[in-house]
């Protein structure tokens, strides 16, 4: 009997020794996504999908390891309805749910950052490029992975002014339009001779003929429009319908599928439309972005624009916004790993010290001096032709970038 007991004890010890060592599960780590599901569904869906895709990838690999525990990422979705008041309510609920970070389009950030900052919870903006939203001194918990209005405006100034254009600076009276106009005005302030006219357009107006006529009479030889997609579509309609083939340059909203959908009956009106955006590919080529795109499409399907090329091929939209949200999730996880704890202040501090490889192959990260994940140098210009766009050839950065396929 004693021998049998000894044998059993030995077996038990051996079994314990041979067992696979595993970290104890710490449960879920919540990432809150606060986006305008009912106000701007395209933006909301892209951001949500980006975070969820990264979370799914990490969870399927066994979750993330923070300190001595492993965790699963859980994504909680909130709809801010493009309302700052709702964003505040969402933030309170997310903090109550124990979110370690929030990802947002930027709605209501002026009010929500303080709530989150009290708990040292980071917020990352992945859409709105407004100046002042990210301020490392005043808002230490606010980060952004999206091109900034400031960067885009100054890139436009250095791109357009040497061309000798008399630029009509147009913006709509939405918050987005007004924020962008402030940066554009600053960027062009040192070259007032290159500005023909400054006009504010009413957001939601379908007929902008009087304003466009005014810009034409003021001698504008190019239009720079910072506005919501419907306004841009209305500007193109007004200009082209009077036969004015003025080159039109726009904010990143120029790539929104809505414009092409609105002008689907006049594809030539879209031709030549140039917009600014964050580069989708790194110098190493299209490989990393296409790998991300293919993963995105196999999970969520393609984002169809709803228009076709002249050859009859349906046009798809590359998942740019999803890429930024995806990248932030990876940077956040790197910070959690570095912090080795879910302690919010440690995670917030670690976010300044980590870099990951972004979905497009670029390095992505923040630092103590800068909470912008897209540097101004990474703003490129793309021009539409046949309902798809390609980087322009007359800008040093853009000319180095490959074309992202936009048809199946």
């Amino acid at each position: 009997m004693r021998r049998a007991l000894l044998l059993l004890a030995c077996v038990a010890v051996l079994a314990a020794g041979c067992g696979k060592s595993s970290r104890s599960s710490g449960g879920d780590v919540v990432i809150a996504v606060d986006v305008p599901v009912t106000g701007s569904p395209y933006v909301a869906q892209n951001i949500r999908h980006g975070v969820a895709l990264a979370a799914n990838n990490l969870n399927s690999g066994g979750g993330i390891i923070v300190g001595t525990h492993s965790y699963h990422l859980k994504v909680k979705l909130y709809d801010n309805h493009l309302s700052a008041r709702q964003a505040v309510e969402d933030t309170r609920r997310a903090l109550d749910a124990g979110a370690v970070a929030m990802v947002t389009d930027g709605t209501g950030i002026d009010a929500t950052w303080q709530l989150a900052n009290r708990e040292h919870v980071p917020i990352c903006i992945t859409y709105d490029g407004g100046s002042g939203l990210v301020d490392i001194a005043k808002r230490p918990n606010v980060f952004r992975i999206a091109p900034t209005n400031h960067g885009i405006a100054f890139r436009y100034a250095e791109y357009l002014i040497p061309k000798g254009f008399k630029v009509g600076l147009l913006h709509d009276d939405s918050a987005y339009g007004q924020e962008g106009a402030a940066d554009v005005n600053r960027a062009f302030s040192e070259n007032p001779r290159s500005v023909a006219v400054r006009l504010t357009l009413p957001f939601g107006a379908t007929d902008l003929s009087p304003q466009i006529l005014r810009a034409k009479r003021a001698g504008a030889t190019a239009l720079l429009v910072w506005a919501q997609p419907p306004t841009i579509a209305a500007v193109l309609t007004a200009a082209r319908s009077i036969g004015w083939n003025v080159p039109v340059y726009t904010s990143p909203t120029g790539s929104d599928p809505f414009i092409r959908q609105q002008l689907a009956d006049h594809p030539s009106w879209v031709d030549g439309l140039t917009f600014a955006g964050g580069r989708l590919t790194a110098e190493i080529g299209t490989g990393p972005f296409q790998a991300f795109e293919s993963q995105y499409e196999s999970t969520y399907g393609t984002d169809k624009v709803g228009v076709k090329t002249a050859g009859g091929q349906p046009v798809i939209q590359p998942p740019e916004l999803a890429m930024y949200a995806y990248d932030f999730t990876h940077v956040l996880v790197a910070a959690l790993t570095r912090a080795g704890s879910l302690d919010a202040s440690k995670v917030l501090s670690a976010l300044n010290e980590v870099t990951t490889q972004g979905a497009n192959g670029d390095e992505r990260g923040f630092n103590r001096n800068n909470h912008e994940g897209v540097v101004d140098d990474d703003v490129y210009f793309a021009r539409f032709h046949d309902m798809t766009y390609a980087p322009v050839k007359d800008d040093p950065l853009s000319s180095t970038l490959p074309v992202i396929p936009q048809t199946p």
Binding site: E353, T355, E363, R368, N369, N370, V375, D378
Partner: protein, 382 residues
Amino acid sequence: MRRLAVLIALCPLALAAGAAAQRTQQVVLPGPVPYPTDSPPLVGGGVLANVYLTPGLHVDSAERVSVGVDGTGKPSAIAVEQTLTVHGKGDYQLSVSGPIAHVRRGPGSQSEPGFRTDQVLWAGFSPGTKRLSARVELRVPPAAPYLPLRLHLTREDGGVTLRITNATATPVQSYEGVVRPREIAKLLDQTRRSSLAGKRVKAAFATFLGEVRVPERPVRIEAPLRVDGELRLPGGEPVRFSRVLGDGQPLSFEVHAQGSGKPELDLEARTAPVVRLLRPPGARTWEAAIRRRPIPPAKLLSLLIGARFRLVRSDQFQTFLADPDADGRSSAVYDYTVGAAAPRQVAVPDRSGGGSDTLLIVLVVLGSVVVAGGGLVAWAHS
């Protein structure tokens, strides 16, 4: 007698034949790398971020190191204004390491520097040329030991005495052997030309006949420094000074200023070319000098190795903070003042010439390792 005469006549021939039969080897001379010590450039504590430079891009570094000293001459604040100039079109991602306390944008910078633990970060796109300037404040205790000068201020009746010492002196392992005087003279002339032109010393080899010996005692070399400045006390006449410390001249000197109150110091130091040690005696070139009057080959070799080590050491002090591009042109000026460290404008170097080739440096380093290894084996078997 005839036999003896024939024997005497044959002796030199026999010796010459013996020398010809001696094994010759190409020995790598010092420079352009490795540097005699690990720092400068300074090294920080954190893990260095990835560095990426589009092929064909080059980065030059111009630094002004501002050192504030206390009433005894001890460093109390160190700041560096570093301007990196990216040449070429493409992406760059750079990091500069060091014991960094704080970083902010420098004058004329076309981008904002990032800051992480002990790192300055730069990332972006150069459309052809791009200026990246940062003002970097350093933690004094880990940075001060690598400054090129030591200052010592002492109060005396009616004034203050400042002792300035070149602190770059360091021991290096030299080598000796039988060499060909003409070849060494030619190499001395090449090295002198590089030194006078302010160019980085280029990789070079010398032919040794037979074994290469390593002297038991290492040689002490220094980066020659030109020191210009002014010391003054309230109520007294300013005392101006301008000296070269090193290059065969003393490594320290003293200046005394009369007056009372807090001393004011304005001192600028920069590396100086090796001039005195490389001056050929009685001729315009070393090749001409040895034609005019024989100079012992051992002396020529010692001069050559010493001068090249000094130039390498000088090059080392051109990067107090590292140039992220090992092939880039670098320059540094060191300012010392009593009180706070306030940087002046950095002069960006011209990229019209000079520099060196990364591949060449790598090959030279590899070559040095191979030759050193071969030498060691030969020595062990001798």
